[in-house]
Symmetry: C2
Subunit: 143 residues, 2 copies
DNA sequence: TTCCTTGCAAAACTTTTGCATTAAA
DNA sequence: TTTAATGCAAAAGTTTTGCAAGGAA
C-alpha cells in the first residue's frame, strides 16, 4: 500500500500541518499522522503500530517512537501519563482536560470551559506555568 | 540490622497505621513504611530499594513492588504518574496537587487550599468522581 | 498445618539505541 | 554528496510473575 492510496487532499493537508510545525513530511510520518491526527483520540504507541500494520504497511517500532516523540516535541500531539504503564498520545492539542475511568482505563476529553479555576498557586520564583494537567478520576457509582 | 533497631515508639505507631488500613505489619513492610511514611515525599520503587539497602538490609525488588502496590491499594500511599517512565509513590494521602518542574523532574506538593475550582464538569451518568489529579507544569522563566 | 510473605531469577512489557540501509535535499 | 529517516535487532529500564523457602497464625 503506497502513500498515494491516501486521499490527495488529505495528504496535502497533513503535509502543511507537519511542515507548519517544522516537521519534514516523509511517507511514514504522513502515515502516522493520517492515523492519529484525523480526529481527537488517545492512542498508545502499540496501537499506532498495530493500526498501520493492519493497513498492510511495513513500519518499525523504532520509527513509531521516533515519530511520536518528534510530533510531541514539535507540538503536533500531546503525550499523556495516566496509568503507570504505557503513555498515551493525544491528537487534541487544544488546551483541555481529561476524565479517566479508573475501571476501564478509558480517557475522555473535558473541554476547557467546563473547568474554571477561582484560585491557582503562584509558581515558585524564577518559574512560569507551562501548562496544567487535570485528570478527573471516575468510578462506577455504587447503587 | 534488625527491625528492633528502629525506635520502638515509631514501630508501634507504624504498626497501628498499617493495621488500621488492613495491612499486616511484617518486618519488611515496617521497614518500607518507616522509610516512606515519615514525611511527605515522592519516591520511586528504585529509591525505596536503594534506601533500604543503604541501611544494610536485604530486601528484594519483588517485595518492594508488592509492598508499594499493597500500600497504594489500601490507601496508605498514593501512586503518581507524571513522566512517561517510572512512577512515584507519594506518602501524602491528604488531598493535594503538584508542581512538576519539567526540566529537573522535581515534584512539589501544592496544598488543597491553594487551588479553588469555580466550575467542574458533571461526571458521566452512572459515574462518580473518585479524585482529581492536578499537575501544574513548571519551566524556568526566560530572562 | 495452612496461609501469607519474602527472595531470587526470569519473564513481560514499554521505550531507547546502534547500526546498516534507504530515501530525500 | 551530504544529511536525515527507516528497519531491524538488541539493549535498557520498569514492573510483574513463578516458585521455592521461610515465618506467622
Amino acid at each position: 500500500m503506497a502513500i498515494m492510496d491516501l486521499d490527495p487532499g488529505l495528504i496535502e493537508d497533513l503535509n502543511k500541518r507537519l511542515a507548519g510545525h517544522g516537521v519534514r513530511p516523509t511517507a511514514q510520518r504522513l502515515r502516522i499522522a493520517s492515523l492519529l491526527l484525523g480526529r481527537p483520540q488517545h492512542l498508545s504507541a502499540e496501537q499506532v503500530l498495530a493500526g498501520l500494520r493492519n493497513q498492510g504497511l511495513r513500519v518499525s517500532k523504532a520509527t513509531i517512537y521516533n515519530t511520536l516523540n518528534l510530533f510531541a516535541a514539535s507540538g503536533l500531539i500531546r503525550q499523556l501519563s495516566v496509568g503507570s504503564d504505557r503513555c498515551w498520545f493525544d491528537s487534541n492539542t487544544d488546551a483541555h482536560y481529561h476524565f479517566h475511568d479508573v475501571d476501564s482505563g478509558a480517557l475522555t476529553d473535558v473541554c476547557l470551559r467546563d473547568v474554571e479555576f477561582q484560585r491557582l498557586p503562584e509558581p515558585p520564583p524564577g518559574m512560569r506555568v507551562d501548562g496544567i494537567d487535570l485528570i478527573i478520576r471516575l468510578r462506577r457509582k455504587e447503587a
